[in-house]
């Protein structure tokens, strides 16, 4: 048990370290100075109030998308459709933000709720198809991403009425932006969303670990057949898991729509928030605290990567190499761990036999 706990910490930490080493090697091959590169990377992440503000700002949606992926993971499901659910949540939040006239204490919660419900409805589809017809959720949720991308563009044009690529700004009563936080961090776009994200991580922990619902969901994740035998409704839990996962994803979209951008832009490509969520969940080992830390790291790397362009003339794409390397090491780390445990198990059995 101890060893397992140790490995769960060690593998991600080692992976991060090795990812950075890979980054350094690529810098050397590319003829860049790794010391300068990493200095400006870390400066860009945490070196100034502004950097910290932007890192926290970028972390908020990643925490949500990470929680969304992790929640489904914990119940044995792969929600690769988080990206699409983020877009749907985003557009719903912006719609409410623009079209309703309410005092803030109603407007903001309503916009957040709209994001959650819209994305939950979107996520319901692959969940339902899986439960009812056993259609593999990876396929359906991936395909739903494309439907979401083009649907949101269409909604932006026809329902919200975008003429010049971008919606008008949402009303201030629905905005998470905070002049105070922006001032504290010298003009970063930090908004209150990070607090909601941390709160959501606590809710995530609470649902999974402290409620009957969470217990059932995890049980289904561990062993479907046993859960069924124990009298749990596997199908109901699959749909529920997707719906809750979608709610987290929708809030990730709300972070962008109500916090970072205060609006939405027509887009021909994905935001990447949902896909990054997969990496965040993996590195965070699907735990609440892990997801928060991993989201902070990836957000910081992304923001620091921009500073690397200016500080060390290194293309910011390099950060993507580092993130990808970390993910690969984490993934193979778990494989390695699995092998180690297996070997140990066998040895033990061997000993017992003797």
């Amino acid at each position: 048990m101890n060893k397992l706990g140790l490995n769960r910490l060690l593998i991600p930490l080692l992976s991060i370290l090795m990812g950075l080493v890979v980054g350094a090697i690529v810098m050397l091959i590319g003829g860049y100075d790794p010391v300068r590169g990493f200095t400006s990377l870390f400066n860009g992440m945490l070196g100034s109030p502004y950097a910290i503000g932007e890192t926290l700002r970028a972390a908020a949606p990643l925490i949500f998308s990470g929680l969304a992926v992790a929640f489904a993971f914990r119940t044995g499901l792969f929600n690769i459709g988080v990206e699409g659910q983020v877009l749907i949540g985003w557009v719903a939040a912006v719609y409410v933000g623009i079209n309703f006239e309410l005092p803030m204490f109603l407007h903001l919660p309503l916009a957040l709720l709209a994001a959650m419900l819209a994305a939950a409805a979107w996520a319901f589809v692959p969940g339902f198809l899986k439960a009812k017809f056993h259609v593999h959720e990876v396929i359906t949720s991936i395909m739903m991403n494309y439907i979401a991308l083009y649907t949101t563009n269409s909604i932006l044009r026809s329902v919200i009425g975008v003429t010049n690529e971008r919606t008008e700004s949402i009303r201030e009563t629905a905005s998470l932006s905070s002049p105070l936080l922006q001032e504290l961090t010298t003009f970063s776009r930090l908004h209150w969303g990070i607090l909601i994200a941390v709160l959501a991580a606590i809710v995530y922990y609470y649902i999974l670990q402290r409620t009957t619902l969470g217990y059932e969901l995890r049980a289904v994740g561990f062993n479907k057949n046993a859960s069924q035998y124990a009298g749990m409704s596997v199908n109901r839990n699959i749909v529920l898991s997707f719906v809750i996962s979608g709610m987290f994803a929708g809030l990730a979209g709300a972070m962008e729509g109500l916090g970072t951008f205060n609006g939405m832009t027509l887009s021909a490509s994905f935001t990447g928030v949902g896909f990054d969520g997969i990496a965040v969940a993996l590195l965070g080992a699907n735990t609440a605290i892990g997801v928060v830390l991993a989201a902070l790291l990836f957000a910081g790397l992304n923001i620091g990567g921009l500073a690397m362009q200016l500080g060390a003339n290194i293309p910011s794409e390099l950060v993507k190499v580092i993130i990808a390397a970390i993910v690969i090491f984490v993934a193979s780390g778990y494989a390695l761990n699995y092998v180690i445990e297996k070997l140990k198990g066998n040895r033990k059995k061997g000993v017992e036999k003797k």
């Binding site: 870390f42 400066n43 945490l46 044009r157 971008r166 003009f187 200016l310 003339n313 910011s316």
Partner: protein, 364 residues
């Protein structure tokens, strides 16, 4: 068991704190170093100019690339070194625009370009925060005292390719395919229509919008419809959607049909190969614009708060140099006459639907 867990956790916490402190220290040192460098730099009267690309990246074979070519030329002409005196920062997502603009402002760049109208909002915000820096935006108007808005008279260049199309069509039918309907693309459409009508009032012009800048399939479908209905020349102002127009034209040319495409933004001669379907292109010289505005700024004449329009007169728009491949010399000389009239102001190319209506009255 609990104890061990706690030790691990606290070790982790200590590690994190340590790395944070280290990073912070590193940050402090580096910042000082950087600001010292800047101080020295500005004392020497060094001029620093930079641009932030949109998500297309610096090698998009279009807009961003052209802007960077202008800056590169400016840098070379003024003995600036890349990355020190002139520089670009790439944005891989929309969220990167603001941090990129801000870090350049913090690093005291004298002039910072935002390439593309999607950056309008961010330029507006950052220009407000950093009132001592100069900014410029391409293809959009941002109202702020320290922002120069660079726009192009696309209608003038489009007028000239319209003249070519009007004179060269054999079916008296030409087509226009726009990306997304907006004030900007309307300039292309109306200029083109006016050019055609000026030389060939009997011609009909088929106008369609794809409602998408990145859908080659839609481009192919619309072009197929237009060529099928008898148009023999199509002018596209549709970005990536235009790729589909070229595909359709090439397929038809392979089957022996005589069809042409007029390219946009830069010389699209190569896109037409090997079937050779590019008749001419309406080029938009973003490089000229970035070069000129940088030069003005370095000379102390930053056009802050102004809208600078690059037209035929400033070589900001025009027809591609390869036009003589397929366009006969007598037609090119007519194009030259119209060019001169537009420059002299004897003729005005319409930019909006209303202006086009007015223009048509003069033709009749």
């Amino acid at each position: 068991m609990m104890n061990k867990k706690k030790t691990i956790l606290s070790a982790l916490a200590a590690g994190l704190t340590l790395s944070t402190v280290l990073a912070a220290c590193g940050g402090g040192d580096d910042n000082e170093g950087a600001s010292n460098g800047e101080g020295g730099g500005s004392e020497a009267g060094d001029f620093k100019v930079a641009m932030v690309t949109d998500t297309g990246g610096v090698d998009d074979k279009s807009f961003n690339q052209s802007a960077w070519e202008g800056l590169t030329k400016f840098g070379e002409d003024n003995n600036l070194t890349e990355n020190e005196g002139f520089k670009y920062l790439q944005s891989s997502k929309q969220a990167d625009y603001q941090p990129n603009l801000q870090q350049l402002a913090r690093d005291n760049f004298n002039l910072i370009y935002g390439i593309g109208f999607l950056m309008a909002e961010d330029i507006q915000t950052v220009a407000g925060q950093f009132s001592d820096n100069n900014f410029a935006i391409v293809d959009m108007v941002v109202d702020a005292p320290n922002v120069a808005s660079i726009t192009f008279k696309e209608q003038e260049g489009s007028f000239l390719v319209g003249v070519i199309a009007g004179l060269m069509t054999e079916t008296d039918k030409v087509g226009f395919i726009g990306g997304v309907e907006s004030d900007l693309i309307k300039k292309f459409e109306n200029g083109f229509k006016a050019g055609v009508m000026a030389v060939n009032p009997d011609a009909t012009i088929d106008v369609k919008y794809a409602e998408d800048f990145n859908s080659a399939e839609k481009g192919t479908a619309i072009a197929s419809g237009m060529y099928g209905a008898g148009s023999d020349i199509i002018y596209h102002a549709a970005g990536g959607t235009g790729v589909g127009v070229f595909t359709e034209a090439k397929n038809r040319k392979k089957n022996g049909e005589e069809v042409w495409v007029i390219g946009v933004d830069r010389d699209q001669y190569e896109e037409g190969l090997p079937e050779d379907v590019t008749l001419t292109s309406m080029v938009k010289r973003v490089d000229t614009a970035t070069y000129e505005v940088s030069k003005q700024t370095m000379e102390g004449n930053f056009p802050g708060g102004e809208i600078i329009e690059f037209g035929l007169k400033d070589d900001g728009v025009g027809i591609a140099e390869t036009s003589d491949e397929h366009v006969p010399a007598d037609i090119l000389s007519q194009v030259d006459e119209y060019r001169q009239q537009l420059i002299d102001g004897e003729l005005t190319a319409p930019a909006t639907d209303a202006e086009f209506e007015e223009f048509m009255k003069t033709v009749e």
